[in-house]
Symmetry: C2
Subunit: 337 residues, 2 copies
DNA sequence: ATCTTGTTTTAGAACGATCTAAATTAAGGG
DNA sequence: CCCTTAATTTAGATCGTTCTAAAACAAGAT
């Protein structure tokens, strides 16, 4: 079963040149004569030669492999992100090692060791909740280039690709205020990540900038069910809000289910706005107003940052922040002015 | 920046033993004395030694790496599948190389070559549309173990993990018939894959077994938009159906949007049933009746089949088929008897 | 002819692990 | 104290590539 590999040496023998020459041909070096190149390439095709990248890495230290760590593969935000990364890496003839940390520090540590063992050239990391701000320094000391994405620890210690949630939240709040909504509550996940911090900062700022009232923060876990259940908590607030801005579309969708169960019509009685504009936003009832963050674009940007870093380890740290876009649908359509 | 790797040799030197001994310790061989093992392990920890799996593979031909090829990373069916694969592989201390064929034969070929070059131990393949039935034989001739999943070419030539769509479609049709629906149309994607064949076979059989009428097949492409547009085609059928069974939930959700736009109330005027029970099924309006296929379970099964195959290349070909479960929601709730 | 100069090609040592086959050590028996 | 057997340890070759430094060759200048 285990067919034996065709090696450089065999190609060399058949083509009547040395291994070194074949190696040069494989790597498209300009040093070899046109005639020789052609002959060697023909032999490679005949023998179905496939270069062993592992062996090559052993010598020249480039595996054309990058690791990607996401905290979650169910949330389609992360999978679109992943699609963006994979797309760009594929174009550069690199391969993606995928791992899911499940937002668990222990798993994240294991995965990093595994990646290290496999000799990845670099890592795109979406740090798990509770990741120490020292991790980037640690990875650096291992000689492992990192790009953080979507979440960040140790601000500015590594390249970063993300969305501008401060701006995204501002867009959403402004929109609600224009519609005449006055009191806005933020429905957040409990997990303490930079993704949460950023949205909360944006919320505080946007409230301060507009004439809206701060309707407080309600926390839930990241799932429809949790969010649907938290509808009760929102409705029971002392001073009931007339709009709810949600951490993401998943919470928004769940909240709308919970609201309708409680006899409150989302969009009319209470405006609901999500963040991320996941595909599902079009399918909820009513269709969900959301702020598009283009996760695939963020993934692509992260991949390009890493490619740049691999090409030049001393390049200055760079941040690639994608601008958000408000998508208005029926869950906030009604103008109550 | 590029920190130098700690090698077996360095550990050996510090611990005062030979490289061979350290290698045995790394691989947890029972051959080394308890005392030596402890000393070596301590040194490994001190020096932060990480075994170079690429170098190891060069010698012993096992990279602890498997490739996974999916046709799509947007459809959450595939990402849940992927999550299942990753989970099991992680448990076995293997790493997943991910690639997206985008249902493109050319890309699929490239990816397979790339995987070959990286020395993957095996591949989990969800073949792209139009994949030749010879591909399994080809991979076999490369000495590359494959498990097919979700789709299949060259039936029986490799291990396979999938869902029982014939049964799934039967469950859906029976359900509709019990509700008093008489004429059922199948809304399908156009792409000619085994996934489509299987559903169509199931549909024909289920129609034959029950007293339902065959409402014909309408084709669309795999997207909400396409499916929403095809609502018109469904409503314009000669003999309008009173139920539509859809290729998957994405089409079903799109169809319901299109129907409502056309003034037809899904669930009341026309029953709609999906397949796969994606998370979004709970969030559509009305909530979508669907058949749960447990994609994560299929992914896990595929991973286990591959692990088994890697352990024993001569094991008999095996199929792992997961049983479907009907989930009734409002899109088909009304009994019209 | 010999010397440059420039272009191609190459022998042989890496890279970091594992394997094979043999050497060393320890323990028990006579 | 030597011999046998079992338990540990090891030297050195090996996997498939790339690198370094030098060799071989060609062509023009002297």
């Amino acid at each position: 079963m285990q067919r034996k590999r065709v090696t450089l040496g065999q190609v060399a023998q058949v083509a009547g040149v040395s291994r070194a020459t074949v190696s040069l041909v494989v790597r498209k070096s300009p040093l070899v004569a046109e005639q020789t190149r052609e002959r060697v390439e023909q032999v490679m095709a005949e023998l179905d030669y496939v270069r062993d990248i592992g062996a090559a890495r052993l010598r020249n230290n480039s595996s054309r492999t990058v690791g990607v760590i996401v905290p979650n593969l169910v949330n389609s935000f992360f999978t679109e992100f992943l699609a963006g990364v994979e797309q760009v890496m594929g174009e550069e003839d690199r391969v993606v090692l995928l791992a899911n940390s499940q937002d668990d520090l222990h798993r994240q540590r294991e995965i990093l060791q595994r990646f290290r063992g496999h000799g990845v050239d670099g890592v795109i990391l979406c740090p798990a909740e509770g990741t120490s701000a020292d991790l980037p320094a640690q990875l650096h000391s291992w000689g492992l280039p990192v790009v953080q994405s979507l979440r960040e620890v140790g601000q500015g210690s590594t390249d970063y690709a993300g969305a501008d949630y401060v701006e995204g939240v501002r867009l959403a709040v402004q929109h609600l205020v224009h519609l005449g909504r006055r009191r806005i509550t933020f429905l957040s996940v409990a997990a303490k990540t930079s993704a949460r911090e950023e949205r909360l900062i944006g919320f505080a700022r946007a409230i301060a900038e507009t004439c809206a009232e701060d309707g407080g923060i309600v926390e839930t876990d990241l799932s429809w069910e949790g969010s649907a259940n938290s509808a009760a908590a929102v409705l029971a607030l002392d001073n009931r809000p007339d709009a709810v801005l949600c951490f993401n579309d998943i919470l928004a969708a769940g909240l709308m289910l919970g609201l309708r169960d409680a006899g409150v019509e989302p969009g009319r009685d209470l405006a609901v706005v999500g963040l991320d504009d996941l595909p599902l936003a079009k399918l909820t009832y009513p269709p969900l107003t959301s702020v598009a963050m283009n996760p695939a674009g963020i993934g692509a940007a992260a991949a390009r940052l890493l490619a740049r870093r691999l090409a030049d380890a001393d390049a200055p740290v760079e941040r690639s922040i994608i601008a958000p876009r408000l998508i208005v649908r029926d869950s906030s359509a009604l103008n109550v002015n």
